[in-house]
Subunit: 450 residues, 2 copies
């Protein structure tokens, strides 16, 4: 059952492909789960991947499509005719089928859909393609089991037998009325216990959490997470059942949300992956770098104002990087906690003032420790007392200011409906760099009396 | 169905509690989902939350426990007697029940378990409490439907009717042999189609992905994500079926993994939440701050070496923060992409050299743009040519070095099985700060000929 992708396995496979040895490739890929096949294809070159894909049994080939990374999927599809794609799509569930077709160029999409054998399948897929990719409609599948509230249990079983042909796994049995309006769910338990003639209306569970088709991805994820749902029914604007979303399709949404914050904190303005082009990689990074440059230039202006003091006491320059860096570090730490708290909804209703008060306490403590450590360092290496006091006092002040700014800025952004994650990463670092330098030289001129 | 927690709702509730108006509180909390009740309790003070909890119907009160944040759960449990807790735990599924009991002090755990009415429930829970919290055993529930491979279909139905009493939702029907060994699954579809006397052995699906009870949380998450599973059976070391894990319990694990990287990048060494104590907040941040200080001190040493040059040309000091900050920013950007690529397994087998080559290209491009921009700035404000060339050349070099270091360090850490996320955040910033200063002054002394 469990397959581990090793270097030697890949070498064996590559050699077999080189020899054009179809039989060996078939043997090597036999009884391997489509998710693992997808991983193998991801590790092979284009020619090799297409060779392996070509020898897969139809069912496995179809399922493999749903597990491939976007770029590999594109390459594999390019190598297939519309007929072949249609054969595979015929096997897939509607949501996966729509996802595969969405990857094709527009003209080929129509061609594949027209070639599908099962006409109700093809109309379901066309339907799904009409929804925004990032909405409940774009996530849902058309395969679900629904029974009429007015039927008796035995009619349900007959009906389910018919519907179940198309459905791999039954997560919920939905109860609808004559207008297809969603009324509730029927548990397998109550079905197993009920007598064949009892009406559904007497044994079904009233009320079920659902979303409308135009709800956003994030909304779907939030609802499924909050209510611990494995499957979520989707309705149209008249509350008619039109599909269902299973949680496995939502996990990617949840992960992407978490990763978005990480990328912001790392100074990436776009989702970039390691296989993206050099140009899109540059584009995602330049905005933050330029903001960082603005900060650096402002820092230069601050330092220029104190040029004569530096000429007099050049040792003041020693600790410029320390003070600037610490301000940035503390600011990012504080803002990251706020951003995560906001994402998890754990600080919405609690007061801004309380939050800042607490951050200040933490900063007082950390500031005291850091200031003492650097004072100790300056004492040991024998630097002037004035310098030691300047650095420690500045560091202490900077840590407190940076913590307050790091807490305050994301909260304010959030209040004005701007993504608070913007406040992490280079932005807060830059603000604190400049602020830190200013404080440092101010204290320096006072301590030295220059 | 959908409930929105508003300020005015909370005010109404608070007033009703103040008046000790049980009837109004009951009305206000009627027909609200336990997940929403949990959110309400989270927003109330201790006394208020316990008041509301006290008027909830037994079923709702029990389910609410499974949705509460750890700190609120603790407060609510403190207010309850062992008998009351036992009443609620009797209603919960085994995995949720074990999670609630695990929050109690040791002596109370035994008391609650002894008070449970359903003895098989209580032995299941004790069993679950024996597993590591962060393992498959700690995640699984004991409720599952298993049928014997040697039975005919009609016997299965009778058996399922019996088992289904304890089970809220049936996700999979597992097939086991006489030794309880897991053989495969039975789809509802094949059950609906089979004649009552056909043996299970002829209609079941052979082979099913499972984990052993001592597998880690992360392993469970990886498997369920990769194979798009909604439910995963858990076996003991003899492949005997002992439980099942549903995906909703694994989502937290997946999210925490993603958030861990974010926290590392933000310079937090521990999982901290906004409601943690000042002390644990300080503790999570100090390590990185102290590392940052080491960097700052090293930076000071570098600058000290160039003291006479600064005294001669104090304008060299202007751009210390710019060069240092840009090195840090670029390094974090590069390492973040590598860390995410490693987490998503998308760069394991691809070469390190290729990765570094691509990063260098991106850096060449971004470096050229940033260097030109800052050259333009220096030209416009009328700074000396030597300074303009120094800053631009240094910036260009620093961006390239930082990109290479940011790519190389996490890849090397990963190779030696150290969490590559360590390389993001203050660590890489610090390395690049020092490197940047060194390059800057080296170029400066050459350009100025001092």
């Amino acid at each position: 059952m469990s397959f581990e992708l090793t270097k030697s396995y890949l070498e064996d496979l590559s050699h077999a492909i080189e020899r054009q040895d179809v039989q060996s490739v078939k043997l090597l890929t036999e009884a391997i789960h489509p998710a693992d096949i997808a991983e193998i294809l991801d590790r092979l070159g284009e020619y090799e991947a297409n060779f392996v894909y070509g020898v897969l049994p139809e069912e496995v080939a179809a399922e493999t499509l749903t597990h491939l990374d976007e770029d590999v999927l594109e390459r594999v599809l390019e190598d297939l005719s519309a007929e072949q794609i249609a054969d595979y799509v015929d096997i897939l569930e509607t949501d996966d089928a729509a996802d595969v077709i969405a990857e094709l160029p527009d003209d080929q999409q129509a061609e594949v859909i027209s070639q599908l054998e099962d006409k109700s399948h093809s109309s379901d897929i066309s339907d799904l393609l009409g929804y925004e990719e990032d909405s409940a409609g774009g996530l849902m599948a058309k395969e679900f089991i629904a029974v009429n509230i007015n039927w008796p249990v035995n009619r349900c079983v007959i009906h389910m037998r018919k519907q179940a042909q198309d459905i791999d796994k039954v997560y919920s049995i939905y109860v609808i009325d004559d207008n297809s309006e969603l009324k509730g769910t029927l548990s397998l338990k109550s079905m197993l216990f009920a007598s064949p003639n009892s009406p559904i209306s007497e044994i079904y569970m009233d009320g079920v959490i659902s979303v409308e088709a135009d709800a956003s991805n994030e909304e779907v994820a939030k609802i499924m997470e909050k209510y611990d749902l494995v499957v979520l029914p989707v309705v149209d604007d008249k509350n008619r059942l039109i599909g269902r979303i299973t949680i496995d399709d939502v996990i990617d949404v949840i992960k992407e949300e978490a990763e978005k914050d990480y990328q912001m904190a790392s100074g990436l303005s776009d989702k970039v992956e390691s296989h993206d082009s050099v140009w899109s990689m540059s584009k995602a990074r330049l905005p933050w770098l330029l903001i960082g440059m603005v900060g650096g230039v402002l820092g230069a202006e601050v330092i220029a104002k104190y040029e004569s003091q530096i000429q007099l006491k050049p040792e003041l320059a020693y600790f410029i990087p320390l003070v600037a860096a610490m301000g940035g570090n503390v600011g990012v730490q504080s803002s990251a906690i706020v951003v995560q708290g906001l994402a998890n909804n754990s600080i919405v209703f609690r007061g801004i003032l309380g939050r800042i008060g607490k951050e200040t306490l933490v900063a007082l403590f950390n500031g005291l420790i850091c200031a003492s450590v650097i004072f100790g360092y300056n004492f040991i290496v024998g630097n002037e007392q004035s310098l030691a006091w300047t650095v420690s006092l500045a560091l202490f002040s900077v840590i407190i200011f940076a913590a307050i700014a790091g807490t305050f800025i994301p909260l304010v952004l959030d209040k004005y409906k701007i993504d608070p994650a913007l406040a992490t990463g280079p932005f807060i670092t830059t603000v604190n760099d400049v602020l830190g330098l200013f404080i440092y030289f101010l204290i320096g001129t006072i301590m030295y009396g220059i």
